[in-house]
Structure formats: structure tokens, C-alpha cells
Amino acid sequence: MRRLVTDTLIIAERNLVRLPRRPDLLLAFTVQPIMFVLLFRYVFGGAIQTGGVPYADFIVPGILVQNIAFGGFVTALGLNEDVHKGLIDRFRSLPMARPAVLAGRTLADVATNTLSIVILTVTGLIIGFSFGTPALHVIAGFGLLLLIGYAFSWVFAFVGLLVSSPESANSVGFIAIFPLTFISSAFVPPDTMPEPLKWFAHVNPFTIMVDAMRALWVGTPAGNYVWGAVVWALIILAVFAPIAVARYRRTASG
């Protein structure tokens, strides 16, 4: 157990140390979310009716959840790269705790996700977002975002080990994430959608997560969203962490 903790921290450090040296990755964590907020706020913002809630307040939680779900994507790319460069062979030949390579990566994602959340929130505040809830709820919102991000990091860890190349990791990520995030309450109220999409949007865990964030940060009716979001994140974690680790044990660099 101690071995798992130290090895995980070593791997997390490895993944964070390299960040400043990879301007492309840094851009993905900083500029990209800002761009998204600005595009949605000013391109779509005028046209979308959100039923009383100002669009800035509506869109910031949506973009945050979408961004954080995507945040683990570098894990898929990075792990895939490690497989191809033979690094996974090296790690697997070392006397280290088995899950540490994945646990270290996903832990590093928590750090980069924190960075993304802060940047996004500040950008949101600048374009007119305002917190409508007590500080405790705001903090809980941060926590929920990090939990969601962590859960999805494990999904991407699995994807990164599964696919044959970074390109296919890319397309798997896009095909899975785009419909999930767009057919949800993240960017528009689902009630404006055609019937089948509306149905999907309502059962979509993204909708639950986004509505949970709106409840925690804007003060929209909470319903069961917050617990629903936590449960969904834990389910994703409980499913994908074990299968990703199992996959790792059998992965050989090719």
C-alpha cells in the first residue's frame, strides 16, 4: 500500500514536470477552455433562451463540466504514447505497484483539471457569470467537478490502453464525448430538442452533472441532481478503474 502511494506520486510528478515543456498540452488546458466560453457566450448566447437564467450563468457550469470531462483526454494520448514508446514495458518490468502508472496519471489530471477549472471560472466571472449560492456550495461545486474529472480520467486511461494509436484515441474520444455533452443540458435547455433527443438528454449523466453544478453555483432547483452526479461519477470510477488496471496488466508495448 505504501508502495502504491509513493509510486503513484512518482508517476504523477513525472506527468506534471513535463507540462511546462509541452506548450501544446498547456494550450489545451488554458486557451482552449477560454475560447469555448467566449464562443458560446458571444456566438450562441444571443440566440439561446434559457428561461430566466442569464446565459452566462447558464453556460459556465455547462462548459465547466464538458471541459473537465474532456480533461482526462491527455491521459488517453499520453498512455497511448507510453505504450508505443515502450515505456509501459519498462514500467511493467520494474518492481513497482501495478496500478501506479494509471493512478499517477489520473492524479496528475486532477492537478491540471484544477488549473482548467480556475481559468474557466475566472473567464466566466469576467464575461458576466456570478455565483448565486453560499460559499459552502461553491466549494462543493469545485469538489464535484474534480470528482467528475477524476472519474473520466479513468475512462480515458482505459481508452488510451485500448486503442492502437493516438489518432484513434482522438476519434473514440470525439465520438463518445461530443454526443454525450451536446445532447444534454450543458449548452441549451433540453426542452427545445426533438422528442428522442429530449429523452436522451434527460437520462444523460451529463445533464445530471451539469444541473448539479448549476444548483451548486447558480442556485437553480437542486432536485436530486447533486447526489445523482456524485453517484454517477462513482459508478464510472468503479467500472473503469478496475478494467483499466486489468488492461494495463496485459498491455505490452508494440
Binding site: T6, R21, P95, S253
Partner: protein, 344 residues
């Protein structure tokens, strides 16, 4: 093949190791033994199963059948304990390009369980040994191919493992770096390390290895010292370069009485294996001139590993699937029956 001995003298032992990937039989029952403190070269063409065997011995793959142990530890049952006793430099340099050379080595050291300070000190030591001190503070992405290889080998040595696995350590290196790496391996062996290396290069096996195992299509088809293998091909080889390839058949007929084995003809070269070199040049030239065949060059030499490889596998070592006609015949001298019928 004898069962692997479990005494202290055997560093690596494999018995009947089988591995298949779907339709592909990568290893078809490999028996192998490496004496402690020696170098075994696994020599084989592309796809022979070298990397698969290395992966099994380094716990990265589990065999479908058979057993293998390294320093007395079973590669499946004792895998976790074994990992702290081995070093691996895989076929492709396994380094993190975004980290510096020193950071790479420090990370590996810490993953072996040493403290950060100790790992760093060991990293510095290895950078010095591998002539990477100046580059040690630079991101590995700026390294040349040779520097990457050296860093990769350094990473394999972090824990001073008693057994080292090197998968094609010099592939892609320039001649100078290659010789440098050979010297490093030799000094490691002098310090008592056991090395199993794979290679497609005969000169590398000849120079470094105490024992050579020739592997093809997933089986070890011959094993022994370089000299033993050469003896198996038997005798000396007379090689005649003809003035014109058209005379090949005539030359073959003319030289046939000199040996029990049929002469091998390839393009404008005819080779024949003889018992003794005494007088063979004169005899060969006389027979050829009687037959009216023009000779451009002639020499007598001991068989090289190349000849061994050719006669064992029916194809040249470094050119995959290139089966020169008529060569199989002259292998019959001292070669196992199981080598026949291996021609692709």
C-alpha cells in the same frame, strides 16, 4: 534437451516455453540455459521470436506452456520478486522524452524503491558512465538515437541488476556507438553481470557472446559457442569467384568430387566444404581449368557464423526470407536433423 538445473550456476533457465498470438506460434517450445556471469546471444531473423522470449523472461508476458526462471525465481509465480533483480533494455529505447536524462534515471531509481537523493546520485554516476553528463540536464527529446540507446541502457542498470536483458541493443547505432556499447557490455560482464542479448548481427554475437542460441520460427535450432557452431558446419570452405555466372553448373560438376557434400552455387560464386585446406586451392584451380571454367578469385576460409546461420535456417541472417538456392545441401555435415526443411 535436459531439464533446467536449479543450482546457483544457472542464471536463466527456460524449458519448453510456448507462446502463441492467435494464429502465430511465436515460440514453439524453447529450451535455454545461461550460466551465471556469461553472455548468451539469441541470434535470429525478424519474427524469430526473440522479443517474445525476452518479454517472457522479464515477466511482461506469461508463457502458454513451459517454465522459465531467472536467478532461481519463476517468471510467473515469483514475478514480483524477480522484477527487482533484472534490468531490461527493450528493442525500442523506453525513455520519457519530456524528461531530462537525469530525471529519467532518477524516476526509474525511485520506482525501484530507492530514495530520491540516492536515485539522483546513481543517475549521475550512470550519466558519467554512458558519456551523457553534458546532455543529462536536457530533455531526452533532443537526444540522438545513440544517446537514447545509451540512456535506455543506463536505465536498465539503475538497480545494478545481476541479470540484464538487452533486446537488439545496437540496432540503429553507428559503428562507433556500437563498439562503445559493446565495450560497456563487456565491462558489465567483467563485473559479474549475466547478459542475455538478442541480435540479428553475427559479428555482435561472435564478439560478445560466450554462447549463442540460434532461434528461428520460435525454436532454438542450435546452441553452443561460436566455435562449436562453426564446427558443426564442418571443415573449411573453398570459395571460387567465377569469371562468368554462366559457368556455375560446369564449376559445380568440376568441384563435386572434392567433397562429400554438393557444392553451393550462388550467382558467380561456388563454395565447397572440404576436410583439410592442404592443397585444395591447387586442386580446385586444376579441376576448374580442366573443365574450361575461368576463375576470377579463390580463397579458403573457416566457416563464419553467417555460414552457420545459412546452413541452419536456409536463409541469410540479415536478409529476411532470402533463401539462396543449393545452400541447404552443404549443411548436412554436422547439423541437427531438425534444421532441415526450415527453408522459407
Amino acid at each position: 534437451m535436459p531439464l533446467p538445473r536449479q543450482d546457483d550456476e544457472v542464471a536463466i533457465a527456460a524449458a519448453g516455453v510456448v507462446k502463441r498470438f492467435g494464429e502465430v506460434q511465436a515460440l514453439a517450445g524453447v529450451d535455454l540455459e545461461v550460466t551465471r556471469g556469461t553472455v548468451l546471444a539469441l541470434l535470429g531473423p525478424n519474427g524469430a521470436g526473440k522479443t517474445t522470449l525476452v518479454r517472457i523472461l522479464t515477466t511482461l508476458l506469461t508463457p502458454d506452456a513451459g517454465t522459465a526462471s531467472v536467478v532461481g525465481l519463476d517468471v510467473v509465480r515469483d514475478a514480483a520478486r524477480l522484477r527487482s533483480r533484472i534490468g531490461l533494455a527493450g528493442q525500442y529505447a523506453a525513455i520519457d522524452e519530456n524528461l531530462t536524462g537525469l530525471e529519467n534515471l532518477t524516476m526509474v531509481g525511485r520506482l525501484y524503491g530507492t530514495s530520491r537523493a540516492a536515485a539522483k546520485a546513481r543517475g549521475r554516476e550512470l550519466l558519467a558512465r554512458f558519456d551523457l553528463v553534458e546532455a543529462g540536464g536536457r530533455a531526452a527529446s533532443t537526444y540522438s538515437g545513440g544517446m537514447r540507446r545509451r540512456l535506455d541502457l543506463a536505465a536498465a542498470l539503475v538497480a545494478e541488476p545481476p541479470v540484464l536483458f538487452l533486446d537488439e541493443p545496437t540496432t540503429g547505432l553507428d559503428p562507433r556507438s556500437r563498439i562503445g556499447l559493446w565495450e560497456t557490455i563487456e565491462s558489465l560482464v567483467a563485473e559479474g553481470t549475466t547478459v542475455l542479448l538478442t541480435t540479428q548481427y553475427l559479428d555482435e554475437a561472435d564478439r560478445l557472446a560466450n554462447a549463442i542460441a540460434v532461434i528461428d520460427h520460435g525454436s532454438v535450432i542450435a546452441q553452443g559457442t561460436s566455435d562449436e557452431l562453426k564446427d558443426r558446419v564442418g571443415g573449411e570452405r573453398v570459395e571460387v569467384a567465377l569469371e562468368t555466372a554462366d559457368d556455375g553448373a560446369a564449376a559445380e560438376r568440376a568441384l563435386a568430387p572434392m567433397s562429400e557434400d554438393a557444392p553451393a552455387v550462388r550467382d558467380a560464386t561456388v563454395a565447397v566444404t572440404v576436410r583439410s585446406r592442404d592443397g585444395v586451392i591447387v586442386e580446385a584451380v586444376r579441376r576448374l581449368s580442366d573443365a574450361g571454367v575461368g576463375v576470377a578469385d579463390i580463397n579458403v576460409r573457416r566457416p563464419t557464423l553467417d555460414d552457420v546461420f545459412l546452413s541452419l535456417t536456409g536463409h541469410a541472417a540479415e536478409v529476411d526470407g532470402n533463401a539462396p538456392g543449393g545452400v541447404d545441401g552443404d549443411a548436412s555435415g554436422g547439423v541437427d536433423g531438425d534444421a532441415s526443411g526450415e527453408a522459407p
